[in-house]
């Protein structure tokens, strides 16, 4: 164990976990990374491309190396950063991306082949033969390179979502964020303070800072106590704000039970959408390293991380207790690390500082004007080579802390595409042009010292509150200023490989090669080398790479620029983005009033938009759906069938101008419709193409019910509302959707009247009293209010009967029961389709948005006596002269099938676009005709009755001879309708 005294751990609560099956111990308060280091585990993974041994590099979300798979089976989660995993009892972690044991990875052979695997190698090496790329090269490269593997099983965890509307969202709970929260909380506004860590404090957790003459953590504790006492402040730990979206909306993930072995019914994570009036980004900064030869060995770490492990987790990052640690730095921060290590008795071998005339701030040796030029130790660091102006020598050490300065975490401030600007004094990019309402505080703004962070947090809080009309007077505690000078030192020149991006194995040599191959813009550099494209998004690599490229091109860093920052800030699981709705609950469903009844009958259902509709009702002995559908369609033609048509849209239109309004919505006259009558209507799009069709019933003077197709119910209502509110607000009318309010059953067939007569209360259904296209309110079954419409989609004597939805189920039961002797049969959407094709009625197959009333043979319905939406443009050239017409089609050989979608050609014409004469819109097997039939649009179809044509389906090599017929296969004279 390399654990020493101190730290922010609960040593009374020991935890057991496994890493690659090995049982290890840690404490409450540990991360997986700190616990591994405490157990002397330095080697935790293999690199992406070269399979180089890799260790823990950081102590936070920026970690490029220590990616592990947590848990097992369906709960396995690959590519988890050990540095942010809160340790829990029973945690199970495995290393990834190796073949064979981690210590002896077979794929490490890739490292020997590294000269062949330079930047962009796959663009150059695998060009021939071309066909091999997809089948051989790419799969092989993907197998060799990579991250963890998915379990392949469904995600068993639960997720949920939530919405917050604070006045002020503060992102990051370090000194700046806490100070901002305290200032705003005391001022009484609604505050959300979110931090990705499982503990508030930010860098104060990792430092030995002094605030108000006391340890920094005392101030954190007191501040949190006060914030918890404020009802207007919400503290959210384990919550990563990962993206900034339009209109002040932020995406955040709260890890609710990731830190628990047994979630005990709790969700794993919650996806929060936070709409904040103002926001403060106090996300801190990420330390940068200094590339030098073989700088990727386990044991080489960021200096701030080494300090964090020492101060927060009481761990020395060496394999054995007592091994010394060296520090390589270009700034004062490295010396703070040395001081912290010494505090806990960890031997400091030397601080190698790139600067001249630098002195130690503690009892350790400082080597000034020197750098680290190589390392030794295959699976863990054993020695570093130190080089100064005069000589090189090897220094034995168990770990090396590298301090190259700090990069503010500008990411969220740049999510609206703003580019950060270079601050030459601080040698870093700082935010500029942050999203509206956002201010940046603390280290994220370049104000990295504790004192500056506290002042900055309070300052931006006061500014944000001022914009909200709230005055606040902050009380900023005094903090001891730390020395913070440094120099820009971007990499140690050398011939060996020096890693810049650890996760994607990008070295300084790769950047040089990219420059040499003219991939010099940052965007090209990124894509040629894959720098910054790994799961860590190059948090520890990007700025260093820019600096190296700037050096190569002779430009300045700001001239070189940055790539675009995009959400998410850190990886987010797709499960939580989905909000927990999966499988059957992936989307809402709409069920008809007779759904439960149909289910009990064994109906097969089909999706129709959000609706689930009964497709057909199989009976025992029926082994194929066609048998059921043929039986149902025949029952309608010979007896009576009942079908739930509730899904068709119903729009209640009332008002003194309702008729005028309907005249403008429909292309045919509708305002003249008398009470008690129904009329078929067509609606056009603004461009003159067909939009929707349906019936309009006039129930009383100024009171209509418009029906729409199932698919367009919502959009027609929306369109009518738009017309009412925006186009003709002067008209007096009201629109209410009543689709769900009424259960509507189609009762169709020659026996339909006989059946209905058994349920209506004193209502004359005779042809004279209630003719075709009549409607009436009435009562049925001893007093139930209902609406009856004599309309027909099947071509038979038919009615549609509407009752309050709660009675639909019982009405269906009653009709089937009372109609047994009449052959009453429930039918589904398949039979509905067969019946309407036999009758030549159009549906969405014919009204596609690319067809017209003229094509449907209904051109005369477009009234010239009035204007209506789309009427004028329906008369434009190209539409009015369209000669394609809806026709019926039957196969010349009755044994052949008509295939919907097939295109129509003359029998001797070539089957190409130039000779295309139309297409088949709908097809089915017709029990009435005794063969397959179809509907289709055909050039001059109305003049070609009896002609033979060819339906071609080039996709499947089909070619069928068809005969053109009337689209009305059943009762072309309409006698049955009027029976």
């Amino acid at each position: 164990m390399t654990r020493h005294a101190g730290g922010l751990l609960d040593r009374t609560r020991s935890l057991t976990f496994t890493f690659n099956g090995r049982r290890l111990n840690g404490y409450v308060g540990d991360t997986l990374a700190s616990a591994l280091l405490a157990n002397g585990v330095q080697l935790v993974g293999r690199s992406f491309k070269y399979h180089r041994p890799r260790g823990i590099f950081s102590a936070g979300a920026e970690e490029p190396n220590a990616l592990v798979t947590l848990r097992s089976g369906a709960h396995a989660e690959p590519n988890t950063r050990a540095t942010v995993v809160e340790l829990y009892d029973g945690l199970e972690a495995k290393s990834q991306n190796h073949i064979g044991p981690l210590e002896y990875d077979f794929m490490a052979v890739n490292d020997l082949l590294s000269p062949l695997l330079a930047a962009g190698f796959y663009y150059k090496t695998f060009m021939w033969p071309r066909a091999f790329w997809e089948k051989l090269y790419e799969p092989a490269i993907r197998r060799a390179a990579g991250l963890g593997a998915l379990s392949g099983e469904a995600d068993p965890d639960m997720y949920d979502r939530g919405y917050l509307y604070p006045d002020l969202l503060i992102i990051g709970g370090g000194p700046a964020g806490l100070m901002a929260a305290l200032t705003a909380g005391r001022a009484g506004v609604e505050v959300v303070l979110a931090d990705e860590d499982f503990r508030f404090g930010g860098r104060l957790l990792a430092e030995d800072a002094v605030i108000a003459d006391a340890p920094g953590m005392d101030w954190v504790a007191a501040t949190l106590a006060e914030l918890r006492s404020l009802p207007n402040v919400r503290l959210m730990v384990r919550t990563t704000v990962f993206g900034v979206y339009d209109h002040g909306v932020f995406g955040a993930v709260e890890r609710v039970s990731d830190h628990l072995l047994n979630a005990d019914g709790q969700v794993r994570q919650t996806f929060w959408r936070i709409s904040a009036k103002r926001s403060i980004l106090a996300a801190g900064a990420t330390e940068r390293h200094i590339p030098f030869a073989n700088n990727d060995r386990p044991g080489v770490m960021l200096s701030g991380a080494v300090r964090a492990y020492a101060n927060r987790w009481a761990v020395s990052p060496t394999r054995k207790a007592g091994d010394g640690v060296a520090v390589f730095t270009s700034n004062d921060d490295g010396h703070r690390t040395a001081r912290s290590l010494l505090t806990f008795g960890v031997p400091v071998k030397a601080v190698i500082d790139t600067r001249e005339e630098i002195e130690s701030i503690g009892d350790y040796r400082t080597v000034a004007a020197a750098s680290v030029t190589d390392t030794r130790g295959r699976k863990g660091l054993q020695a570093v080579q130190v080089t100064d102006a005069r000589r090189s020598w090897w220094l034995h050490c168990g770990a090396l802390a590298v301090a190259g300065g700090w990069n503010p975490n500008v990411h969220l401030a740049s999510h609206h595409r703003a580019r950060p600007v270079w601050d030459a004094a601080r040698q870093c990019f700082v935010p500029s042009g942050a999203p509206a309402g956002m201010r940046v505080a603390g280290a994220a703004a370049g104000e990295g010292s504790t004192a500056a962070a506290l002042a900055s947090g309070a300052g931006v809080a006061v500014e944000s509150l001022g914009e909200l009309g709230v005055k606040a007077v902050p009380s900023v505690p005094h903090a001891v200023e730390e020395a913070a000078s440094g120099e820009a030192f971007w990499h140690v020149p050398g011939k060996k490989r020096a890693w810049v991006d650890f996760q994607n194995d990008v070295t300084v040599k790769d950047i040089k090669l990219s420059h040499q191959e003219n991939m010099r813009s940052v965007e090209h550099l990124k894509r040629w080398t894959t720098l910054g494209m790994a799961t860590d998004q190059g948090k520890t690599a990007n700025v260093t790479a820019l600096a190296v490229m700037a050096e190569l091109t002779g430009k300045t860093i700001p001239e070189t620029g940055t790539t675009i920052f995009r959400p998410p800030y850190t990886p987010v699981s797709l499960g939580v983005l989905g909000g927990g709705d999966t499988g059957a609950h992936f989307r809402p469903w709409r069920l008809t009033p007779t759904h439960a009844w149909a289910e009990a009958q064994g109906a097969v259902f089909v999706e129709a938009g959000l609706w689930m509709r009964a497709q057909y009702f199989p009976r025992s002995g029926e082994t194929h759906w066609r048998q059921s559908v043929d039986r149902e369609a025949s029952a309608v033609r010979s007896g009576v069938g009942i079908c739930d048509v509730t899904t068709l849209g119903k729009i209640d239109v009332q008002g003194s101008d309702a008729g005028e309004f309907l005249d403008r919505i429909y292309v045919n006259m509708m305002g003249t419709l008398k009470p008690g009558k129904v009329r078929y209507g067509l609606m056009l799009r603004e461009d003159g193409q067909l939009y929707d069709d349906g019936t309009c019933a006039c129930l009383a003077q100024g009171q209509y019910v418009v029906t729409t197709t199932t698919a367009n119910a919502g959009s027609v209502f929306q369109r009518m509302e738009f017309a009412r509110q925006c186009l003709w607000p002067e008209l007096d009318l009201t629109l209410i959707s009543t689709t769900d309010a009424w259960a509507q059953l189609a009762v169709a067939g020659p026996q339909s009247r006989a059946l209905l007569e058994r349920i209506v209360d004193d209502f004359d259904l005779s042809n004279e009293a209630f003719p075709f296209m009549a409607c009436a309110p009435l009562t049925i079954c001893k007093g139930l209010r209902a609406r009856l419409f004599r309309i027909s989609f099947s071509g038979e004597l038919a009615y549609e009967l509407a009752v309050p939805a709660r009675y639909g189920h019982a009405l269906m039961e009653r009709l089937i029961e009372l109609g047994e002797d009449l052959g009453a049969t429930p039918y589904g959407t398949e039979a509905l389709g067969v019946l309407r094709i036999e009758k030549g009625h159009a549906t969405a197959n014919e009204i596609t948005g690319q067809t017209t009333a003229v094509m449907l043979g209904l051109g005369k319905m477009v009234s010239r006596k009035k204007d209506a939406i789309g009427a004028v443009l329906s008369r434009r050239d190209g539409l009015e002269e369209d000669t394609r017409r809806l026709v019926g089609l039957v196969p010349v050989d009755p044994g052949e099938s008509v295939v919907a979608g097939a295109h129509l050609f003359g029998t001797t014409d070539p089957q190409d676009l130039a000779h295309d004469q139309g297409w088949i819109t709908s097809a089915c097997y017709s029990p009435h005709v005794g063969s397959s039939i179809g509907l289709g649009y055909l050039e001059r179809g109305d003049t070609r009755m009896g002609e033979e044509i060819v339906a071609a389906n080039p996709l499947e090599g089909q070619s069928t001879r068809l005969r053109v017929t009337s689209a009305h296969f059943v009762d072309p004279e309409g006698e049955r309708l009027h029976a």
């Binding site: 639960m158 919405y163 509307y165 809402p588 069920l591 009332q654 769900d740």
Partner: protein
């Protein structure tokens, strides 16, 4: 009385009711609703109910309720009147109004709890609205789990969600899931 039986929006003969941790979730099958549109500049108090302004709700101790639906339009309801012709009753009470039957257009689920905090925990998971828009005495239409619904806040310990009747199963699932999760949350 008609000799047909009624079913609930969930396809059952009896109303759904469940106790989930500190919550009671109940389907309000007897809630009758009618849409009321008044001519401009007309004042009316259907069934004695004050018609509130945008986002507002009138729902006192009695069975009657009214909430704003759009300019000049309100939803008027009564908790025990679904069996009759409620729209006709409202129309008779306000002859100058346009009244549309809405009882079976909606499914209503009531969530109640002893503590306001428990209801707040649920609302912040379900309703993408700022607190003032979903405070006591408001009825606001919103999108929940891809479904349109009214969030009707009768009191700080009782909220009613009105959703499309045909989506009753999906709405119930969304509510149950949230309540179950709140039941176990620490």
């Amino acid at each position: 009385m008609p000799d047909l039986y009624a079913i609930t929006a969930l396809g059952k003969r009896t109303a759904y009711r469940a106790e989930i941790g500190p919550y009671a979730l109940a389907e309000m099958t007897e809630l009758a609703l009618a849409s009321v549109v008044l001519p401009p500049d007309t004042q009316a108090k259907p069934l004695g109910l004050e018609l509130p302004g945008p986002g507002g709700l009138t729902w006192g101790a009695g069975d009657g309720l009214a909430f704003w639906a759009s300019p000049g339009q309100w939803m008027v309801g009564r908790q025990d009147a679904a069996g009759g012709d409620f729209a006709a009753m409202v129309a008779a009470a306000v002859p100058e109004a346009r009244v549309t039957e809405q009882t079976d257009a909606w499914v209503a689920f009531k969530i109640s709890a002893n503590a306001a905090e428990a209801i707040e925990n649920v609302l912040e998971r379900l309703v993408n609205l700022p607190r003032p828009a979903r405070g006591v005495g408001t009825a606001t239409r919103t999108l929940m789990h891809h479904m349109s619904a009214f969030c009707v806040m009768r009191s700080e310990t009782e909220v009613v969600f009105l959703g499309m009747r045909s989506q009753a199963q999906s709405l119930l699932h969304a509510l149950e899931a949230v309540l179950h999760q709140r039941r176990v949350s620490r």
